[in-house]
């Protein structure tokens, strides 16, 4: 029961957060210089044609009215229609979501799959000067290469030696898994290197701090084998910071996807939102940002629940890292 109350409480906070996000994003996109009619009419717009366009799309109404109208529609799940294409924004986002979701999920999984074992390895080898140095260096290196540098190098390498991978050429995963993977491998790897490093560093620190605890000394004192100790006593205790950093990484992913989707022509949501900012396709931007925030907030709630599952001491307390 306690967990449900806790979740309800977290949901409440999440709604407040999203409300804040909605106000900021609405203000941001409506007060940026240059508006939709400028994009559509370009240099050849006249005050008259501008007014025609503004009226046509309801952009001449007071901002508060537009905001409330949008908020009410959004609450009903109606994101409105794109100014650019006249098509529903929701449909466009749903069409693109699989690519971004695949990108984010696979990058996260890869980052965890590589980062956690590496972190554990460098955590338990940090009792020697060499292990300590190597673990730190690997983590710091991985966290120091910007995603676009990595992406550029990959594009370069794979446009010379394709190795079966392609730059671009995305098709939905379930349509043609092979072609999909050929196109998605590079963006996923590009995006996940930072995550690997982040998770490796956190795992290492966390493992170090757990192994400093008495209960691990107690396990050693009982003559348990190192692999058993890691599996049974270290991993679970070390996992809260790992979960936390994974959520932080996820926030980064939603932004990093912008560069990667563009670089590798993955038709995802991130690049859609950025293009919509350029085109002043207000509803698309608002929907996109709100969606990203919702995903992030949801991930955080999930993380909170995972904390409670991992650590029986946590009913509602959340580790701040």
């Amino acid at each position: 029961m306690r967990i449900f109350r806790f979740i309800a409480f977290r949901l409440g906070i999440a709604l407040v957060t999203l409300f804040g996000v909605s106000i900021i994003v609405f203000m941001a996109v409506h007060f940026v210089p240059g508006s939709y009619e400028d994009v559509i009419l370009g240099p050849f717009g006249t005050p008259e044609t501008r007014a025609i366009v503004r009226a046509k799309y309801g952009l001449d109404r007071p901002a508060v009215e537009q905001y409330l109208h949008w908020l009410a529609a959004t609450a009903r799940g109606d994101f409105g229609t794109s100014l650019t294409t006249g098509q529903p924004v929701a449909a466009e986002i749903i069409r693109r979501a699989p690519a971004t979701i695949q990108l984010a999920v696979m990058a996260t999984l890869l980052a965890i799959a590589v980062g956690v074992p590496m972190g554990i390895a460098s955590g338990v080898t940090s009792t020697s000067q060499f292990g300590r140095t190597a673990g730190r260096l690997v983590g710091a290196l991985g966290a120091s290469v910007p995603v676009f540098v990595l992406g550029t190098i990959f594009v370069f390498m794979f446009s010379i030696w394709s190795l079966g991978l392609t730059v671009g050429g995305y098709v939905p995963l379930f349509e043609d898994p092979l072609t999909n993977m050929r196109a998605m491998t590079l963006p996923v790897v590009t995006l996940s290197v930072f995550g690997m490093a982040l998770i490796q560093r956190t795992t290492r620190d966390s493992v170090l701090s757990v192994t400093s605890e008495t209960h691990v000394t107690a396990a050693v004192a009982r003559g348990e084998r190192p692999p058993d100790i890691i599996r049974s006593h270290v991993l679970r205790n070390a996992s809260i910071p790992i979960v936390t950093v994974t959520t932080v990484y996820f926030a980064y992913l939603l932004g990093g996807a912008i560069i990667v989707e563009q670089m590798f022509s993955v038709p995802g949501v991130a690049v859609y939102v950025v293009q919509s900012v350029r085109n002043r396709d207000y509803l698309a931007v608002q929907a996109g940002v709100l969606l990203a925030a919702t995903v992030f907030v949801t991930i955080n709630i999930l993380a909170d629940i995972v904390y409670a599952l991992i650590d029986p001491r946590i009913g509602g307390k959340r580790s701040q890292s």
């Binding site: 508006s35 240099p43 366009v53 794109s82 069409r95 594009v155 446009s159 394709s162 350029r278 085109n279």
Partner: protein, 522 residues
């Protein structure tokens, strides 16, 4: 009409000077198949009558027909109208093809043409192109296959204006019935019809089974891939996912060196990069015409072409160099003499104007990389007359807002499209008529009159001498300056497709003959 037949090929081993460029000569061609075109930009809107953006038009060209069109050297060619006649200086009669039909199978009739043109002319539509058509008094359908256009005054550029996709013939019956909405879908009588549009990803076109062109289109399917990133577009071309690619980067030949199955073609256009100067702001140093003139003299267009565009775009004039009449513009002060002599004149003008330590702001948009390069070269050139330039590079919408809504700039680097008649682009120098540059452009009544005169004068020596006068006045006013030609860069797989690329283009339709593109049989 006599046009210069020019085109540039940057690849040294390809020095064809024919009107057409056909690769893979000798190999056999495949029937049908798909032609894939990788291009950088997505459409901004879907209405051909209102959209002003050349990048967007490219999606319309395969779908829509126009009354007339242009040929390989910008000569007016039959479109939906198989022939026409100018029965008086102000009357044009068009005879429509009887076998033309929209992709839904309904034949194109005169009412479609009349309705479409009237829609363009209707102020409520908000078409930016309407003014280019001149003062039309009426458009009349004479039976199902004849259309008559009556003008109030002679308008030489009418045919060229009607060759533009902004006057696309849309199915008016369906439009009036409400079953077709040009702002949300595309339907025309062109060689292709849109079957799928995945935003920012791809457009898929099928051959229009009712297309009037015999045996055309050659391919069954046309696919346009939208690939923002230049390297990714190159990669798509390399790994065969795209057959043709269009690029911005002038260094493409260098980048594709060693790829023997990729041919790079540079296509000359009637478009050019230009510089807007704010002459109406009392705060701006350019309020003083002498400073504007000095600035104009200090430019080194040859260097802009050489350094910013890698030698790709040649020096260009207000009257685009693609038109032979442009010769008339080559002798004006800012184009003649040595740079040193021009700088001397410029410094003298500056001194005369008492302009010292002039600081100006130059706007441009990051939307087009070459604009930023040009801006940087100009910045360095203007430092030679002690003019220090601060470059502000804005996003697209902010740039439109800053330049054309608020007029918050001293200089603005941008580009103009030249179309099929020299007078169309010259019309921009009359702010009273165009309106869009009135907030920074000094209206010169004498110049306005000359332009109007040129617009109603038929092609020929008389018109050319008018053009020469106009060019001199434009150069003197130094309010909107042509810089260098804006070429198209096209690359294609010579082992996969046979293409036809024309040497000069005026309407941004770089793959004008795409319905003739054919796959090479493996």
């Amino acid at each position: 009409m006599h046009l210069a037949k020019r085109f540039l090929i940057t690849f040294s081993f390809l020095t064809l000077s024919g009107m057409m460029l056909i690769s893979g000569a000798g190999s056999s061609l495949a029937e049908g198949g798909t032609i894939t075109w990788a291009k950088p930009d997505e459409a901004q809107s879907l209405d051909p009558h209102t959209d002003f953006n050349g990048n967007t038009w490219k999606f319309f060209f395969p779908v829509y027909d126009t009354l007339v069109t242009t040929g390989e050297t910008l000569d007016i060619q039959p479109g939906i109208a198989e022939s026409w006649e100018q029965t008086s200086p102000t009357t044009y009669v068009f005879r429509l093809r009887e076998n033309a039909a929209f992709s839904n199978g309904r034949p194109v009739v005169a009412d479609d043409v009349v309705g479409s043109l009237n829609r363009v002319l209707d102020p409520a539509t908000g078409s930016w192109w309407a003014g280019t058509l001149g003062s039309v008094s009426e458009i009349v359908a004479e039976g199902d296959h004849e259309v008559r256009i009556e003008l109030e005054a002679p308008h030489t550029q009418l045919l060229a204006a009607l060759a533009h996709v902004s006057t696309a013939i849309i199915p008016m019956e369906e439009y009036n019935a409400g079953t077709f909405d040009p702002t949300k879908e595309l339907m025309g009588s062109g060689p292709f019809m849109v079957t799928e549009h995945l935003q920012d990803q791809s457009w898929t076109y099928r051959a229009n089974p009712h297309y009037w062109g015999e045996g055309l289109p050659v391919a069954d399917e046309l696919k346009i891939l939208i690939i923002l990133d230049e390297s990714a577009r190159i990669a798509a071309l390399r790994d065969g996912r795209a057959d043709v690619g269009t690029f911005v980067n002038p260094d493409l030949p260098v980048l594709l060196q060693g790829d023997e199955n990729i041919t790079v073609v540079t296509q000359e256009t009637a478009s050019y990069y230009n510089l807007d100067v704010h002459a109406l702001d009392e705060e701006s140093p350019f309020y003083d015409i002498r400073v504007r003139q000095a600035m104009n003299l200090a430019l080194d267009r040859e260097e802009i072409s050489r350094v910013a565009l890698g030698g790709m775009g040649a020096v260009d004039y207000p009257l685009p160099r693609t038109f032979s009449s442009s010769k008339a513009c080559a002798d004006v002060p800012s184009y003649s003499g040595t740079r040193e002599s021009r700088l001397e004149m410029a410094r003298a003008l500056m001194a005369e104007a008492g302009a010292e330590g002039v600081e100006i702001e130059m706007l441009t948009t990051s939307d087009l990389a070459s604009l930023v390069l040009i801006a940087q070269v100009i910045k360095q050139q203007l430092s030679d007359i002690d003019m220090s330039v601060n470059i502000r590079q804005l996003g697209y919408a902010e740039w439109i807002d800053a330049v054309w809504v608020r007029g918050d700039f001293d200089l603005n680097v941008t580009w103009l499209t030249g179309y099929g008649d020299p007078a169309i682009v010259l019309g921009s120098w009359n702010p009273d008529k165009t309106g869009w540059n009135a907030h920074y452009f000094v209206s010169v009544p004498e110049l306005n009159d000359k332009i109007a005169e040129a617009q109603s004068t038929p092609d020929g020596a008389e018109r050319d001498s008018l053009f020469a006068e106009i060019c001199t006045m434009i150069d003197d006013g130094a309010n909107m300056l042509a810089l260098v030609n804006k070429n198209n860069v096209i690359a294609y797989r010579n082992d996969l497709v046979e293409v036809k690329i024309h040497p000069a283009e005026g309407y941004e339709d770089e793959l004008r003959y795409i319905e003739e593109f054919a796959r090479i049989a493996p």
